[in-house]
């Protein structure tokens, strides 16, 4: 029948048929590719949806993909308890999830922890039973979670999305039921400028992730697919719906801190919240929030200082575990010994004026930058760079700090407004472009003022370490909830240090600390010499340079804590050494985990700088499993033994919404009712955008408003044709081969 038809066609007819066929084939391929995407992005709709008028009062409603249909969101309350002993803090975060709906719910809560936190414990409380979580390889933990979820068992999974962003997924919360999840972590507190600093992050601020790129590719099966080449492949994992400010604040937090300093306490202060301090003797104190609970919309910051002159310059702690001693040393180098005159500086100031900096943050940043400009000496040189998704470099190259140039720069800074996306890479590259790399008369310092709300941290770290040269990078974290992982990671890659400014009133004090670091010589070539004959393993490795007021902090694993540890460094050509007798170490708990956490951080730094990813993944996995720590490759999972959700009942999944961080301007970050194609984090061809279902979570706006010139299309179809052509040829080859096989 087919054969008959084919022979009946005359040649010209056959030729036109070929074109029709070719067009249809291409169309089919494209449709197949696009409909797959559309399917993948379509949000499933189950039971449990309701109209807005059906909801009771005080229920937070989430929009769904069905217009006019809503779902009551699971609610969460958080309690934070911190026990501080010396410079080690143990924190227990209790998250209480309540399902206000009639159906069964799965809640996904994106929450922050300090970027140095070693998360080791997960407990799930159901009624009066506690279920302890196990540490598993990430994929395996996810598998256990999915299985338990399908079987109707209660299960909680803690996954690390960034070293400072985690998600807690809880499946099978019954109608009107409450599930309590406890997470515990250990951290070594930062000591700087004579004070210890505790930071409890309470909200993950919306992040800007550079858009992904979409391209057509051929699949192994011979079909065609869309390749989303994404620099932030996990953008979905750490984004959550953000509440409009007029909705009111949710997620209440209570907080209590028990402090055993081990030295007489001086001032105890919080720059972020009003606190009540109850002192117990000279060395201990209990700290709570003055107003009971607060909404989770800004980080909690606490500092405590030793009473003047009582701070020992050395602290040495040890923990014996599994046949080895784990040590943590904190050594404050003597100040003032070698305060030599520093060389003149070439200061490059970079200001982030993207939308996330809108409101309070941009005022802080501008104030800080103006202070920094006034601080320049006439022998210094400077330049100013501002960026959002565009970039301006004020002077073609660094200029002398004359009154005229500074006045010009001040005028420029005053005119800036916060808007647009956070394309940080071009700004970093511009700042690190050194036109005079051989210059030894000036010290080149890049001061980077930002909230760090980006999702492509690792890409940025890699760019910093590869193009650093003689420059040093100092990050200044701005706002109520800056991304500490970016701030400290960028400073580490840039061999500088970081400063946080949480409030407008703090600008001058914090900037004064930064100026001390910028203007005083830096301690370089730090090295630790361990007792000979003992197999020691110390992290971080190598030790970072020390700026004014910073201590050496290192952790080590050693068979026996005995012998002498010698630290040495150079302070502007003046050598410094200090010896510690390891037998003096005081016993403490949790040091082994801090050591493991430091080792993981150093390994991850290596990976970012281009180390062998497979080898590093294996090493991180081994350390994390041994120390029971959550990491990029390991997760904690806790499963109830009995199933509670009856078979046949639907389970609906909700991402829990987050507050907009305090001081943020909603309109600047998300725009007012922007159309979908402008919100989408992924840049897709227009044909695709129309097919995508509307999601709940608005992503940051990435494109400036306003229309002027219509720029022409700047790409040809040649690559697309090549791809389609090659696919066709492969298809033909497959068909012919199949035919031969059929004959044989």
């Amino acid at each position: 029948m087919n054969r008959l038809k084919a022979t009946a066609l005359n040649p010209s007819h056959a030729f036109s048929c070929f074109y029709v066929f070719a067009a249809m084939f291409a169309a089919a391929l494209l449709l197949a590719a696009f409909s797959n995407i559309a399917r993948a992005e379509t949000i499933g709709c189950g039971d449990g949806l309701m109209g807005i008028d059906e909801a009771g009062t005080g229920t937070l409603m989430l929009r769904t993909s069905l217009p006019g249909r809503f779902l009551p969101a699971p609610r969460i309350a958080t309690d934070v308890k911190v026990d501080i002993s010396g410079n080690v803090a143990r924190t227990r975060v209790t998250q209480r999830f309540t399902n206000p709906a009639e159906g069964w719910a799965e809640g996904i809560y994106v929450f922050p922890l300090p970027d140095t936190a070693a998360v080791d414990t997960l407990k799930m409380q159901i009624g009066d039973r506690f279920i302890e979580g196990d540490i598993k390889e990430r994929k395996e933990a996810r598998q256990i979670y999915e299985t338990a979820k399908a079987e109707g068992k209660k299960v909680s999974l803690i996954e690390q999305q960034r070293p400072n962003v985690f998600t807690n997924s809880i499946a099978n919360i019954g109608p009107h039921e409450t599930v309590v999840v406890q997470i515990e972590y250990q951290e070594a507190l930062r000591f700087d400028q004579g004070r210890f600093k505790l930071r409890v992050p309470l909200v993950v601020a919306p992040r800007y992730s550079p858009p992904a790129t979409a391209s057509l590719v051929s699949c192994e099966s011979g079909g065609i697919g869309l390749n989303l080449s994404d620099r932030v492949p996990d953008r979905e994992a750490f984004s959550a719906p953000v509440l409009r400010p007029e909705t009111g604040k949710i997620n209440p937090v209570t907080l209590a801190i028990h402090l055993e300093a081990g030295f007489p306490l001086g001032a105890i202060e919080s720059s972020s919240h009003k606190i009540a301090v109850r002192r117990d003797g000279t060395e201990n104190a209990a700290i709570t929030l003055e107003n009971g609970d607060v909404p989770a919309d800004q980080d909690f910051a606490l500092t405590y200082a030793p009473a003047s002159g009582t701070m020992p310059s050395v602290s040495l702690l040890k923990e014996r575990l599994g046949g080895a001693d784990y040590l943590m040393a904190l050594v404050v180098p003597p100040v003032g010994a070698a305060h030599a005159e520093q060389k003149p500086r070439e200061a490059i100031f970079v200001l982030d004026n993207s939308g996330s900096m809108g409101g309070e943050s941009i005022r802080e940043a501008k104030a800080a930058l103006l202070l920094a400009l006034e601080r320049l000496k006439t022998s210094d040189r400077f330049n100013v760079i501002r960026f959002d998704d565009t970039l301006t470099v004020l002077f073609p190259q660094a200029v002398g700090a004359t009154a005229e140039n500074i006045a010009y720069a001040k005028g420029f800074i005053a005119s800036l407004e916060a808007n647009g996306g956070t394309e940080m890479l071009p700004a970093l590259r511009a700042a690190l472009t050194d036109t005079t790399p051989q210059d030894t008369t000036h010290v080149r310092q890049v001061v980077f003022l930002t909230d760090g709300e980006v999702g492509n941290e690792e890409e940025l770290f890699a760019a910093i370490s590869s193009s650093l040269g003689r420059s040093r990078l100092f990050t200044v974290g701005i706002g109520s909830a800056p991304n500490a992982f970016f701030m400290s990671g960028a400073a580490r890659a840039g061999r500088g240090t970081y400063t946080n400014i949480g409030d407008v009133n703090e600008v001058s004090a914090r900037m004064a600390e930064l100026f001390a670091k910028l203007e005083h010589p830096v301690m370089t070539d730090l090295a630790a010499v361990w007792p000979t004959g003992l197999d020691s393993e110390a992290w971080p490795n190598p030790l970072p340079d020390l700026y004014d007021g910073e201590p050496v902090v290192l952790t080590a694993k050693i068979p026996h804590a005995a012998g002498t540890l010698t630290l040495s460094g150079n302070l502007e050509a003046a050598p410094w050494t200090q010896s510690l007798d390891l037998a003096d170490a005081r016993p403490a708990t949790g040091i082994a985990r801090l050591w493991a956490r430091n080792k993981i951080a150093s390994l991850e730094d290596l990976r970012v700088r281009g180390g062998n990813a497979d080898v590093i993944d294996k090493a991180v996995l081994e350390v994390a499993l041994n120390a029971h720590l959550v990491s990029r490759v390991t997760s904690l999972v806790a499963v109830d033994v009995t199933a509670t959700r009856p078979q046949g009942e639907m389970l609906t999944t909700q991402k829990l919404p987050l507050n907009l961080p305090a001081g943020w301007d909603f309109g600047k970050v998300f725009g007012e009712e922007v159309p979908l194609e402008r919100r989408a984090g992924v840049t897709l061809p227009p044909a695709l955008v129309g097919k995508m279902a509307l999601g709940n979570a608005p992503s940051p706006v990435m494109v400036p408003e306003g229309t002027d010139l219509m720029l022409p299309q700047g790409g040809t179809a040649s690559t697309l044709m090549l791809i389609l052509g090659i696919i066709s040829l492969i298809g033909a080859a497959l068909l012919l081969r199949n035919r031969k096989e059929a004959r044989a």
């Binding site: 073609p396 400036p704 306003g706 720029l711 790409g715 040649s718 040829l729 012919l736």
Partner: protein
């Protein structure tokens, strides 16, 4: 049934591959011919055409010394002109004249090098009248095609501005609403520079 289908597919594949290879080859060849005609025109020859049936007007040469890149810019951004080389948008300032001149080209042919431009790079234009203008790259950004913020009247701080535009993302295959925009400002004459610092 299988065999004709396979042959049809093979033929379609060959045609598409040929066309896919032809487009960049044509652009490369056109640039060689354009450059030859340009050099002859600069040397004083009149009425030189890069090829006998050419219906396009070269307006400037564009040079990037650091990257060893050069291209002959054509007037207009019609699909036809852009198949051969970068096009100067007719509704923007003339190249090197006060205002912003916008030059656009394909990311996969003549403006493939745009992603390698860095801040501080020198970009020189030579217009048909022999006028040579140095520009310095000051910024690059990604913008929607209809919201680039480019204003043809804006002269920039030094009086003349060049905007080099291509499709973004660079490795993309499909049409994209985004453009990569490199802004270069005319280099100040040396004495002005000294005064400005």
């Amino acid at each position: 049934m299988r065999r004709p289908l396979a042959l049809a597919l093979a033929l379609l594949g060959c045609l598409l591959v040929a066309k896919g290879l032809y487009i960049p080859a044509k652009a490369a060849l056109a640039q060689v011919l354009l450059e030859r005609a340009w050099v002859q025109a600069q040397a004083g020859a009149t009425d030189v055409k890069p090829w006998p049936w050419a219906d396009i007007t070269p307006v400037a040469a564009l040079l990037v010394p650091r990257l060893h890149e050069r291209a002959i810019v054509l007037e207009g951004v019609s699909g036809q002109a852009m198949a051969f080389g970068p096009g100067h948008m007719t509704n923007t300032a003339a190249i090197g004249a006060p205002g912003t001149a916008v030059i656009a080209a394909h990311r996969d042919t003549t403006f493939r090098f745009l992603k390698n431009l860095a801040i501080g790079d020198l970009v020189t234009t030579i217009t048909a009248d022999g006028q040579e203008t140095p520009f310095r790259v000051v910024s690059m950004s990604v913008a929607r095609a209809d919201a680039s913020g480019l204003d043809p009247q804006a002269p920039g701080p030094t009086g003349a501005r060049l905007a080099l535009v291509t499709c973004y993302p660079f490795e993309g295959v499909l049409h994209s609403p985004l453009r990569y925009v490199v802004i270069a400002e005319r280099e100040r004459p040396a004495r002005n520079l000294a005064a400005a610092l």
